[in-house]
């Protein structure tokens, strides 16, 4: 041990020295006999591990950056006991051991993924309605002046809403001059029917079914859940980049998941029963629009993408038809024509802002 040579850099210059280690008190001195050089006193407790590759060990000094002491092979007796142990995977993992740590992380990761999927549904109902309303108003405003308003059309829409939403759960139901077969629920309890939907629909009962479905999203606060999920995802994924078109599409085509859609259908059926409107037309609407999946009417795809269509959903509406019930049409013929003609008749309604998003 007395003639065991370390190599050494003092952290001040790059000169390499071949030194002997002389223990003293709680530390040691390094000396280079050939040149008569002696370093400052170093405490054992200041030593840090810089690297331990193969048979090569390097130690640093937490008090002096760049100070290095190294050797090849085994540390000599009397010194090995004083040397600190290095990190391998990182301090936390070293403490538990590799496999236990990996196991614990796996469990935590599973919990986090499960929580991330379930959390939006838990958090959204906790957000006060007034916040959601204010946020929705800030986001939507007057929808760029695209709302269609004519006295007769408004009256017809109000008549429809009064039947499907008698308790005024939706804060606003409006018609927008957008030629897409769709209807959306926006934050703040706003339902917007697109003109394309009205032109595609064959009867007011179909529109009542869609309106009832959107009302289900309002009642269950699915939009807020979707927003919280979108927010969470963009934080987790560091959602940088993208373009505004994609953002808008994200809101319009926000998918709430199978369960939420099914629950919304349930609301639609309940509301229609209460209003004595037949669900048969809605079932027919599903069938018609589903059959066009590969047809030339590509617009139908919009509704399909945000409202996954299945034969099951169609059957559910069809099964809700009670034979012998005294159903009545959701709107009379004059009201229906006024509603459908509303966008064409309103000169102030802004045009759709381009072809497609």
């Amino acid at each position: 041990m007395p003639d065991f040579r370390f190599w050494h850099y003092d952290g001040v210059t790059a000169v390499r020295r071949s030194v002997l280690l002389r223990p003293a008190g709680d530390g040691f001195w390094l000396e280079e006999p050939e040149s008569g050089w002696t370093g400052a006193h170093t405490r054992w407790s200041d030593l840090t591990v810089i690297g331990a590759e193969a048979d090569r060990s390097v130690y640093g000094n937490s008090a002096i950056p760049g100070w290095r002491m190294g050797f090849s092979g085994e540390a000599p007796d009397g010194i090995a006991a004083h040397l600190p142990r290095g990190e391998r995977y990182g301090r936390w993992i070293d403490r538990f051991g590799f496999w236990p740590a990996a196991g614990v992380f796996t469990v935590i990761a599973a919990l986090v993924v499960w929580g991330a999927l379930a959390a939006p549904g838990v958090i959204a109902p906790l957000i006060p309605r007034s916040w959601e309303n204010r946020m929705g108003d800030a986001m939507v405003g007057d929808f760029g002046g695209r709302f269609c308003r004519t006295p007769a059309g408004d009256a017809a829409l109000q008549a429809l809403v009064a039947q499907v939403d008698p308790r005024h759960e939706a804060r606003q139901v409006a018609l927008a001059n957008i030629p897409i077969v769709n209807a959306v629920t926006l934050p703040g309890g706003r339902i917007i029917l697109f003109d394309g939907l009205l032109q595609q629909a064959r009867s007011p009962d179909e529109v009542a079914g869609v309106l009832g479905h959107e009302l289900g999203h309002v009642r269950h606060r699915d939009t807020m859940t979707g927003l919280v999920r979108q927010l969470g995802l963009s934080v987790v994924l560091g959602g940088l980049g993208g373009n505004t078109g994609a953002y808008l599409n994200g809101v319009l085509a926000m998918s709430y998941g199978r369960d939420a859609e099914s629950a919304a259908d349930g609301v639609a059926i309940d509301q229609m029963r209460e209003a004595r409107i037949s669900p048969a037309a809605t079932a027919a609407f599903f069938e018609r629009i589903g059959g066009k999946e590969e047809g030339r009417e590509a617009q139908a795809m919009t509704w399909l993408s945000s409202h996954p269509l299945s034969a099951e959903r169609r059957r559910r509406f069809a099964a809700a038809v009670k034979p012998g019930s005294a159903y009545r049409p959701a709107l009379d013929q004059a009201q229906w024509q006024a509603l459908r003609g509303s966008c064409a008749a309103d000169p102030k309604a802004a045009k759709f802002w381009g072809e497609g998003f």
């Binding site: 790059a14 810089i50 390097v58 760049g66 995977y89 990182g90 992380f105 986001m139 939507v140 405003g141």
Partner: protein, 361 residues
């Protein structure tokens, strides 16, 4: 005295993929089970191995960066850039819904310019961070420049490079390389970067020549194919089938051709850039030719495909090894004059802004 003469080419890589494999595989596993958070510590472990097995003249390099500082850097990027962009995203959404598409466009443009600036800043800071955590003979590198000015240079030089049909791209790349390295130092010595874009320009012109050659080639093939097709017994069907094959080959050829030109240009660019770099008495060189780069990427692709993707954990190793084995230095360095760096990286806390490592973007 204390003078290191450089024999050979100065740099050597003494690692071995079998020693690295346990690091690579445990990194992969831990990164998966921590949903990616371990990647900062994984990067650190990998670099520590690669640096420790890289010899310069008579001693190995050391990497002293930590996973924690990379992680903090990532968190800072998330807070300083991610959250404002999130608000911007919702703002733009609301503006479009309300019909202010123009304003939304301006907002988006502002976000784009900011990100553009940040990319330049991050490049500078990544280099500074890496030098400040790289030690040799107990001495480290660094820079006193924060890189804010470089971010501006990056924006306008990239912009100027892209106008005029992109003819100024070699100039903009080399000029940015020089600007970056001229602000860096190792120990008391500043790097001097005097890379010249001129010699790389001939290869860059191939990008412009290639479409012309390709067009002439198609014309010749088309002229030659017309009589041939007519004579085929299959008649029309045979001719159309042949046409599809030719078009397919043509598309593959275009991609391969452009890829090779890019590789040839980059090989030349990197040789010139490193060749123009010096540190007091040391002059650096890079020896890899287009063929070497080509084999590197061919090897990468083969490795990743043959292992169904798992081999990608060795790419960092392969690239570092390629870099070190083709790196060279001539001249001399006086170790007694190579004193400790006084750059102020550690003054504003290890990591944080320093750790705007490119990987964090």
């Amino acid at each position: 005295m204390d003078q290191e003469r450089i024999g050979g080419d100065g740099f050597a890589f003494e690692g071995n993929w079998r020693d690295y494999a346990p690091i690579a595989f445990t990194n992969l596993l831990l990164t998966i089970v921590t949903l990616g958070i371990y990647r900062f510590w994984a990067t650190t472990r990998t670099r520590r191995y690669l640096w420790a097995n890289t010899r310069f003249i008579d001693d190995r390099l050391e990497w002293t960066g930590t996973g924690k500082e990379l992680f903090l850097g990532f968190l800072m990027v998330l807070v300083l850039i991610g959250i404002p962009l999130l608000f911007l995203q919702f703002g733009a959404q609301a503006l479009i819904l309300q019909g202010h598409a123009g304003l939304a466009g301006i907002l988006t443009l502002a976000a784009f310019v900011t990100i553009f600036y940040m990319v330049g800043l991050a490049r500078f800071r990544a280099l500074r961070y890496r030098l400040s955590r790289t030690w040799w003979h107990g001495i480290r590198g660094g820079s006193d420049d924060q890189g804010f000015g470089y971010g501006i240079s990056y924006m306008w030089k990239s912009f100027v490079g892209s106008i005029a049909l992109g003819l100024l791209i070699p100039w903009s790349m080399m000029s940015l390389w020089n600007e970056r390295w001229n602000r860096m130092s190792f120990g008391p010595h500043g790097f001097e970067a005097a890379g010249d874009h001129g010699p790389t320009f001939r290869r860059f012109l191939l990008f412009y020549l290639f479409p012309i050659v390709a067009a002439v080639g198609i014309a010749i093939v088309a002229v030659a194919a017309i009589p041939l097709g007519g004579m085929q017994p299959g008649g029309n069907a045979g001719r159309i089938g042949g046409m599809f094959v030719v078009i397919g080959l043509f598309i593959v050829g275009i991609y391969a051709g452009l890829g090779l030109i890019a590789l040839a240009f980059y090989a030349s660019f990197f040789r010139e850039a490193v060749g123009g770099l010096s540190l007091t008495g040391l002059n650096f060189h890079f020896h890899a030719r287009t063929r070497d780069w080509f084999l590197l990427f061919l090897g990468d692709i083969a490795l990743v495909i043959a292992t169904l993707g798992i081999g990608s954990i060795f790419l960092q190793y392969r690239h570092w090894k390629f870099f070190v084995t083709h790196m060279g230095a001539t001249g001399e360095i006086y170790t007694d004059e190579l004193t400790q760096s006084q750059t102020k990286t550690s003054r504003h806390g290890e990591g944080l802004l320093d750790a705007l490592d490119v990987g964090a973007f």
